[in-house]
C-alpha cells in the first residue's frame, strides 16, 4: 500500500456533558447543526476539502448514531479503496480491554492503525467545533517551520482569553509556553484543538506518556507540555476565520444564529469549500402555506409551515409548524411537530419532539426576570398543550412535560 503523507485522527468519543439533554443519548459530534448538518460534518468536510483522504474517527460515548451516520463515508467522498474513513472504537486486546483514558491514550491505542498508512504527519482533530479550515495550509506551515508539533490558534478578544487554552509564541510563531485558562492571559492566541504532528515524534511521546504514572493521557495536559519541556520545535499556526466551540447549549444556539447573520464569515454555500452531510433521500421540498410570516430564517427540505410566524430561526428537515404559532430565535431539529398557537423563543428543540397546541417554550432575555438561559426540549419529548418550558429549563429526551 502506498503510504500517506498525512492522515487525520478525529477525536469523537467525548460525551459533551455540557450539552446536557442533547447528548444524553448521542455523542456530541452527532449533534445536528445548521438545518442539515451534524457537528462532525465540519471536520470531515474540512479533511476531504484539504486533500486528506484517510481519517480515523475515534468513538466511545454512545456511538450508535454516529457510526450509522458516518457509515462508509460516502457523503464526504471518504469511501476510498486506499484510505477513507475508519471508525475506531476502543477494543479488547487479549484478556484485557481498555476504554480510551484520554485524548492521547485514544491515539496511542491506535498506533497500529496509523502505522498501516505510514504517514509523515498526523493531524489531530476534534468533533466539537464549527469552522472551515484548510488543514493542508497548516501542514505546509508545519513543514516550512520544520516543526515537530504545530497548534492551530485563533486570536480571541483579550477579555475572553481566560476562557481558553492560551498559546504563547514568539514573533516567529515558535511556542514557548502554554497556559490553560489563565486568569491573566499573556496573549490572546487560543488553541483551537487542532494539531499537526510529525508522526515519528508523536509516536515517541505517546509511548513515553503511556509509561508515565499519574498522567491523564491528555494532549493539552500531558503530551504537549512534555514535548515543549523536552525542547521540541513547536509552532503556533495562525488561523483566521470563523471558529466556534459548540460545547455548551448557549454556544450551540449562538452558532446556529451566526449562520443567519450575513456579517459572520461562515459561508456554507461556497462551492469551493462545501460542507457535506448525509442527507435524507426521499424528502419533498419545503412547503410554505398561506399567511406565513417569515424572515431572517433558514428552512430545510420537507418542512411545512402554515399560518405561523418565523423569525431568526433555523428549521431542520421535516419540521411542521401549524397556524398561529410564533417562533423567534429558535432552533428546531428534524421531524419535530409544533402545533397551533405555540410560542417558541430562544430555544433548542431536539429531533422528533412534539409541541402541542398553545405550549410556551423559552422567552426573550429582556422579558424575563428569573435566571435566563436557552430553553431546551430533548429528542422525542412531548410538551403537552398549554404547558410552559421556562428559559434555561431542559426537558429530558422521550419524556412528557405535562401539568403537575
Amino acid at each position: 500500500m502506498k503510504n500517506k503523507e498525512a492522515l487525520a485522527m478525529l477525536l469523537a468519543g467525548g460525551q459533551g456533558s455540557r450539552l446536557y439533554v442533547l447528548t444524553q443519548e448521542t455523542a456530541k459530534p452527532a449533534i445536528p447543526f445548521g438545518g442539515k448538518y451534524r457537528i462532525i460534518d465540519f471536520p470531515l468536510s474540512n479533511c476531504v476539502n484539504s486533500g486528506i483522504d484517510t481519517v480515523g474517527v475515534l468513538t466511545q460515548y454512545r456511538p450508535l448514531e454516529l457510526h450509522s451516520y458516518i457509515g462508509n463515508g460516502q457523503p464526504w467522498d471518504l469511501n476510498r479503496m486506499n484510505g477513507g474513513v475508519h471508525i475506531l472504537p476502543p477494543y479488547v486486546s487479549g484478556a484485557t480491554g481498555e476504554w480510551y483514558k484520554g485524548t492521547a491514550n485514544a491515539i496511542y491505542q491506535n498506533i497500529e492503525f496509523i502505522e498501516k498508512y505510514d504517514p509523515e504527519y498526523v493531524v489531530i482533530l476534534s468533533g466539537d467545533h464549527i469552522y472551515k479550515m484548510d488543514y493542508n495550509k497548516m501542514i505546509e506551515f508545519h513543514k516550512e517551520k520544520k516543526a515537530d508539533a504545530t497548534i492551530a490558534t485563533l486570536s480571541v478578544p483579550m477579555e475572553e482569553a481566560s476562557r481558553f487554552g492560551i498559546v504563547n509564541a514568539d514573533e516567529d510563531d515558535k511556542i514557548y509556553e502554554f497556559e490553560e485558562k489563565p486568569p491573566v492571559p499573556k496573549s490572546n492566541r487560543a488553541s483551537m484543538g487542532v494539531y499537526t504532528f510529525t508522526w515519528k515524534k508523536l509516536r515517541h511521546y505517546l509511548i513515553e506518556d503511556e509509561k508515565t504514572e499519574g498522567s491523564s493521557n491528555d494532549f493539552g495536559k500531558n503530551v504537549l507540555p512534555a514535548m515543549l519541556e523536552a525542547g521540541e520545535r513547536m509552532f503556533a499556526y495562525p488561523f483566521d476565520g470563523y471558529w466556534k466551540d459548540v460545547g455548551t447549549i448557549e454556544s450551540l444556539w449562538e452558532a446556529n444564529m451566526d449562520l443567519l447573520n450575513p456579517n459572520i464569515p461562515l459561508n456554507l454555500s461556497d462551492p469551493d469549500w462545501k460542507i457535506y452531510a448525509r442527507h435524507g433521500h426521499s424528502l419533498l421540498p419545503q412547503y410554505i402555506g398561506k399567511d406565513v410570516e417569515i424572515g431572517e430564517s433558514a428552512v430545510t427540505e420537507n418542512c411545512s409551515l402554515k399560518g405561523c410566524s418565523l423569525w431568526y430561526s433555523v428549521l431542520f428537515s421535516g419540521v411542521e409548524v401549524e397556524e398561529g404559532s410564533k417562533l423567534n430565535s429558535a432552533v428546531v431539529m428534524e421531524n419535530t411537530k409544533i402545533g397551533k398557537n405555540c410560542t417558541i423563543k430562544y430555544a433548542i428543540i431536539a429531533p422528533d419532539a412534539i409541541i402541542e397546541d398553545g405550549a410556551i417554550i423559552g422567552a426573550e432575555p429582556e422579558n424575563y426576570d428569573g435566571e435566563w438561559g436557552i430553553a431546551v426540549v430533548g429528542s422525542g419529548a412531548t410538551v403537552k398543550a398549554g404547558q410552559k418550558v421556562l428559559p434555561k429549563e431542559m426537558i429530558k429526551p422521550n419524556t412528557v412535560k405535562e401539568a403537575e
Binding site: L268, H279, P285, G295
Partner: protein, 371 residues
C-alpha cells in the same frame, strides 16, 4: 420482485409531440416538483419493488440524464450484481442501428443484454411519466390474470395523440386508440409501463427481428390483442403524462395540492433522487411567501406566491414571483415581476423586468438565458 427493469428515456416516434423543455434533455430528465426529475418516479417505483437490475435505454440528448443518474448510488443501484446499466444505442457490438426507430427497435438492439440477465420478468417503462406505480401490485395482477402482457394505465386528462385503452370487465384490453383531440375528461391512458415474462419478450424480439417490427404499441400490443391475453392494470393514484410546456406547467403546479403530493409521494414508496449538498433555504427580512414549494439552497428576499422553486434559486428584494416554476439556479433580479413563467436552469432575469405568460401559454425561458 424477480424482474429486470428497462427504462426508455425518450418518447420515440410513438408519440410525436415534444416540448421546448425537452429540446435540450430527454423527457425522462425533466426537472419536476422542485428537486426531482421525471425518471425518479419510474426508477424509484422499480427500486421500491426490489428491482435491483435496471437498464436505461438512452437514444439522444442524454447528457443531463447520465449526469443525474451517476453510478445509481442515490437509488441504491450501485450493485456488484445488476444495478444500473446505461444502454446507449451504440453500447453493444450487437446494436444494429444508430438511432432506434421505435421502442421495439431499441429493445431489439439490446436483445443480447436482455438474454444475459437472469430475472423471470421484465418491466419496461417510459421514464417520462409522472406516476408512482406500485409494481408489486401490478405483478400480482399480472400473475392472477395469467396474461401475456400487462400495461399500466390511469384515468387522466390527455393530449391529442395519447394512447387510450379500451378495456373489458376482466381488465383485458380490446383495442387501442389514439386520441383525436385533447380532452379534459379523464380517459384510460397508457402509462407506458409494460410487464411480461423475459422469455416471452425474447421470443417476441426474435419474431420482431425477422419481420422488422419497430414499434411496441403497434406490433407487440395491437397485433397480439386478439391472439394473446393482454391486460390493463389500473393505477388509481395521481398520474400525468407530459408532452408540452403547457402540460408541464399544469402538472408542475398541481404538486402544490396536498392530495397530489400524497398520491405521488406515498410514505411507503418514497421517490429517490440525486443527492446534492445544498445549504438550507434562507429567507430575508422582506421575504413574503405563500403557497409555494421551495427546494433547499434558495435565497428569498422578495415575494413568492403559488410557485415551485428548484434548488439554488435566488429571488431578490422587491421581486414578485407568482404562478411560476423556476428551475435550478434561476435568478430573479430586484423589482422584477414574473407570472405564469417557467425558467429553465440557470436563467438570469435582471432587475426591473416584467414577464407574463398565461396558464394556457406559460412563458418559457430557455436554459442559461439572460433577460
Amino acid at each position: 420482485m424477480n424482474a429486470l427493469g428497462i427504462i426508455f428515456s425518450d418518447h420515440y416516434s410513438e408519440s410525436g409531440l415534444f416540448n421546448s423543455l425537452t429540446a435540450i434533455r430527454t423527457p425522462a430528465s425533466l426537472p419536476y416538483a422542485g428537486r426531482y426529475r421525471t425518471i425518479d418516479f419510474t426508477l424509484s417505483a422499480m427500486v421500491n419493488a426490489q428491482i435491483t437490475n435496471v437498464g436505461i435505454i438512452a437514444k439522444e440528448n442524454y447528457g443531463s440524464l447520465v449526469d443525474h443518474l451517476g453510478s445509481g448510488e442515490d437509488w441504491d443501484l450501485n450493485r456488484r450484481k445488476g444495478g444500473l446499466t446505461m444502454l446507449s444505442p451504440l453500447a453493444r457490438p450487437d446494436s444494429h442501428t444508430i438511432a432506434a426507430r421505435g421502442r421495439l427497435d431499441a429493445l431489439r438492439s439490446i436483445k443480447g443484454y436482455i438474454e444475459d440477465q437472469q430475472q423471470k420478468y421484465v418491466v419496461m417503462a417510459f421514464g417520462g411519466a409522472v406516476a408512482n406505480v406500485d409494481l408489486d401490485e401490478m405483478l400480482r395482477f399480472h400473475e392472477q390474470s395469467g396474461s401475456y402482457l400487462t400495461i399500466a394505465y390511469a384515468d387522466i386528462p390527455a393530449n391529442k395523440g395519447e394512447m387510450t385503452l379500451s378495456i373489458d370487465q376482466d381488465g383485458r384490453i380490446n383495442d387501442l386508440a389514439y386520441l383525436p383531440a385533447e380532452t379534459e375528461k379523464p380517459c384510460p391512458c397508457s402509462l407506458s409501463i409494460y410487464l411480461m415474462s423475459r422469455k416471452d419478450l425474447l421470443d417476441f424480439l426474435e419474431e420482431a427481428y425477422n419481420k422488422d417490427y419497430t414499434h411496441m404499441n403497434r406490433e407487440l400490443v395491437q397485433k397480439n390483442l386478439s391472439n394473446k391475453k393482454i391486460c390493463a392494470y389500473h393505477h388509481k393514484e395521481y398520474a400525468r403524462i407530459i408532452r408540452t410546456a403547457e402540460d408541464y406547467f399544469a402538472a408542475g403546479m398541481e404538486i402544490l395540492e396536498p392530495a397530489v403530493q400524497k398520491g405521488l409521494f406515498p410514505k411507503d414508496r418514497p421517490v429517490y433522487t440525486k443527492v446534492k449538498d445544498s445549504v438550507p433555504t434562507f429567507y430575508g427580512y422582506h421575504a413574503k411567501v405563500e403557497n409555494s414549494l421551495i427546494a433547499d439552497g434558495c435565497t428569498i428576499k422578495g415575494t413568492v406566491k403559488n410557485s415551485i422553486l428548484f434548488r439554488g434559486v435566488t429571488v431578490e428584494e422587491g421581486a414578485v414571483v407568482e404562478n411560476a416554476i423556476l428551475m435550478q439556479k434561476s435568478k430573479i433580479g430586484a423589482d422584477s415581476k414574473v407570472s405564469y413563467v417557467i425558467t429553465d436552469k440557470n436563467v438570469t432575469i435582471g432587475a426591473n423586468n416584467d414577464l407574463k405568460g398565461t396558464p394556457k401559454a406559460p412563458f418559457v425561458i430557455g436554459k442559461d438565458k439572460e433577460v
